[in-house]
């Protein structure tokens, strides 16, 4: 694969999750080593980079998860790693002066003494960028920088990137959002399944070409779900005029038996909080939520599970899996008391039997050993095990948050198939996602949220990327 970044231009690196965007730029930043090929910076050629060499050459990466020191002040964070010092003694006056000058140059107004933990994500990003520039960055890599930003913050970031370009910095902008490409980039390169499939100046391409290149097939036909031959007969999960302070207001949303509802919205739109309420992780401050037939909303996850609600969290490693424990244990955890003799005694054998029930149904690719730690499986297979949790526990309603984040294309199709299969068995599924492709591929109908309110309700035949994007305020 080739990648070419020129000073004073913005290159957009476009691709789905798992297309190879991050791997490519991490080779550039020295985090990974290329198996073959070379890197040339300003004429000098390198076989591989290490992080120190990459920094030395002025290549800086701004990560999605910002790596600043949150307890230190703004000034210290800007100067981190390059504090002006005299024989090990920090010259604080000079720290503040340099940091202040840098931020002023960039048009950012921040209290230099404030701890970074008190700032919003967008402001932390500015600090990261300021630090990179202070370290004489010539090439700046931004990894999905708008994922956690509000609309105005995105605008500010874009004008900021504009200014950086005028200063002659080469910018590599990673994203999977098409609208951003047109807004910010001069050139675009589309990656799919680890290969570069399209490359050239932005104005040459129409939106549709980019989407087709990114997804690999014509969008109109993309894996639409087979419509169900029956309509839902009763509501399994219904929000009525539901409000949760600071997250969403006056929300009406119903998931019936046997249907898959896609709840689409950007990060911060309130979709994540809707999912949390459904599983008893967050309280409503107004309105109400009914689970299954007339039952009250869950007070906590244990209660939700008893009401036959299952929940797949967005962050598999941190919130979903018990990484060092076996796949069988991971799959059985919510069902332990039901599986146990006298609700008390459980054995590895009982767990293995339960695991055997779902291994093939979910096409989990493993050595088929129930004792294998889940951490040794690939992301997609881990996700299948976690989905199996709720099959084993007999959930009637499933709330799946970003069910295929970080999952490869093959496993994604299998997960979608499992979700569809569940729906035909009468389970109600709410897929909460910030990935429009996911809505297109799995949902019977879509509900779109923006800034805590529903902005569109789309029937199956009306679901399209354009409509989803415009309703989500992109």
């Amino acid at each position: 694969m080739n990648l070419d970044a020129t000073g004073g231009t913005v290159l957009a690196l476009l691709g789905e999750n798992g297309a190879g965007k991050s791997t490519l730029v991490k080779i550039l930043a020295g985090d990974y080593e290329a198996d073959a090929g070379s890197i040339a910076v300003a004429g000098a050629s390198y076989r591989s980079m290490d992080p120190a060499a990459a920094r030395g050459q002025g290549i800086r990466m701004i990560f999605q998860e910002l790596a600043a020191a949150p307890e230190l002040s703004v000034a210290e964070n800007v100067m981190l790693g390059q504090l002006p010092a005299w024989h090990g003694l920090v010259n604080w006056r000079s720290v503040r002066a340099s940091a202040g000058r840098m931020l002023e140059d960039l048009g950012v107004e921040l209290d230099l003494a404030a701890p970074v933990s008190s700032l919003r994500v967008a402001e932390r990003q500015m600090i990261e960028i300021a630090r990179a520039l202070l370290g004489k960055a010539r090439c700046l890599i931004l990894d999905e920088p708008t994922a956690a930003l509000s609309h105005q913050e995105v605008e500010r970031l874009f004008s900021f990137i504009q200014r950086l370009r005028e200063r002659g910095v080469a910018i590599i902008y990673i994203t999977h959002r098409l609208d951003e490409v047109a807004r910010v980039a001069d050139r675009v390169q589309v990656l799919r399944d680890g290969a570069s499939v399209l490359e050239g100046p932005v104005p040459e391409f129409r939106r549709k070409e980019l989407v087709t290149a990114m997804v690999g097939k014509s969008v109109g036909e993309t894996g639409r779900p087979v419509p169900l031959d029956r309509t839902p007969t009763r509501a399994l999960l219904s929000f009525e005029a539901a409000t949760s302070d600071g997250a969403f207001v006056d929300l009406d949303l119903t998931v019936g038996d046997g249907e898959v509802v896609g709840l689409y919205g950007k990060i911060g739109s309130g979709t994540a909080e809707v999912a949390e309420v459904a599983f008893g992780l967050r309280k409503l401050t107004g309105g109400q939520l009914a689970v299954a037939a007339g039952k009250r909303a869950a007070r906590n996850p244990a209660h939700a599970i008893r009401s036959k609600v299952g929940f797949l969290p967005a962050d598999r490693q941190r919130e979903g899996a018990f990484m060092i424990r076996s796949v069988a244990e991971n799959l059985c955890a919510p069902s332990w008391s039901r599986l146990a003799r006298a609700r008390l005694l459980i054995s590895a054998k009982l767990e293995a039997t339960a695991y055997g029930r779902w291994h093939d149904v979910l096409s989990i690719r493993s050595r088929n050993e129930p004792t294998q730690p889940i951490g040794t499986l690939s992301g997609g297979n881990q996700q299948k095990v976690l989905l199996g949790r709720w099959l084993e526990s007999g959930s009637r309603v499933l709330v799946l948050v970003e069910p295929t984040r970080g999952v490869d294309v093959g496993a994604r199709a299998e997960i979608y198939r499992s979700i569809r299969q569940l729906a035909t068995e009468g389970v109600g599924v709410l897929v909460v996602t910030s990935d429009y492709e996911e809505v297109v591929q799995v949902a019977d109908r879509a509900v779109v949220m923006s800034r805590g309110a529903i902005t569109a309700q789309l029937a199956r035949e009306d679901v399209s990327i354009e409509r989803l994007s415009s309703a989500a305020g992109e």
Partner: protein
């Protein structure tokens, strides 16, 4: 592996080492540590520590001895056990309801209840009459009661950790607290019970000490938290939770017991024995780390 090397080494060095009676000595010497390490192992799999164990042991023994001065043995015994368990309730409450870190909580109760034991006993040892059975009786095969209790407690916790929903849940909590909550495990309640069980084991330990020496003393179990954690960690439990086993802890316990016993039999200065124990802990854990890193 350590265990085999140790056993072979000391049996060459000392002819008494392999005798049945000596094995009973070894087990008696580590009985209380082992009784406490059993619930300790389970707490550690849930990512929790109990550092207050030594103090609870001393506190229980002092309460027992003081009450026995004016009341019947049975009455004193029951109240002493309740007093010990009360400390577990305090630990559990602070950790699960108030949300104080377990290390800090039990470091606090470690100091406070050592002090309370001193206050209760006015800094003295208090004699107890007619309470020899628990510590010194040998009901069959010449095996002392503390060793029987040790075996019973280890077996009970082996079953608890391996075959009950509770035990499974403790592993899950230690492995990933957030995920545990999201599969409906009542972590707080379970950890609370863990601290109470730990304190109950300490109370048992305190009674055994009291019975063995016919006194209640505020200095019983000083520094015992170190031996307990050493045994657990030697047994392969992970300090960050999610991993650990009673069989492993039993092996760790034997390693400590054999080391102490062997060093005494071969006439090593007791002060050096502390050095050996510390070196053993660091050595075993470093070995484990290195092996894990090479395995990757």
């Amino acid at each position: 592996m350590f265990l085999v090397v140790e056993t072979v080494f000391f049996s060459i060095k000392s002819p008494y080492f392999l005798a049945w009676d000596n094995w009973l000595n070894i087990l008696t010497a580590v009985a209380v540590i082992g009784i406490i390490a059993a619930p300790g192992t389970m707490l550690m799999t849930a990512g929790q520590f109990d550092l207050s164990v030594g103090s609870v042991t001393a506190f229980t023994s002092v309460v027992m001895a003081n009450l026995a001065l004016s009341h019947s043995i049975g009455f004193s015994l029951v109240l002493a056990v309740i007093a010990g368990i009360a400390v577990g309730v305090i630990n559990g409450f602070l950790v699960t309801v108030v949300g104080v870190n377990a290390l800090i909580t039990t470091l606090g109760t470690l100091a406070a209840f050592r002090g309370l034991a001193e206050v209760t006993a006015k800094g003295q040892t208090v004699g107890v009459e007619g309470f020899e059975f628990l510590g010194t009786a040998r009901p069959f095969w010449n095996i002392p009661v503390p060793v029987l209790v040790l075996v019973g407690v280890l077996a009970a916790f082996w079953l608890l950790m391996r075959f009950t929903v509770y035990g499974r849940a403790m592993f899950a909590i230690g492995s990933n607290p957030t995920a545990a909550r999201l599969v409906g495990i009542r972590s707080g309640r379970y950890i609370f019970i863990g601290f109470v069980l730990s304190a109950a084991a300490c109370a048992m330990g305190g009674l055994i000490f009291t019975s063995q020496l016919s006194v209640g003393s505020p200095v019983f179990g000083t520094g015992m938290e170190l031996s307990v954690i050493t045994a657990i960690v030697l047994g392969g439990a992970s300090l960050s939770g999610g991993r650990g086993s009673i069989v492993g802890t039993a092996v760790g316990l034997l390693i400590i017991g054999i080391l102490n016993n062997g060093l005494t039999l071969t006439g090593v200065d007791p002060f050096w024995q502390n050095v050996a124990r510390g070196a053993l802990l660091i050595g075993a854990v470093s070995f484990d780390r290195l092996r894990a890193r090479l395995g990757d």
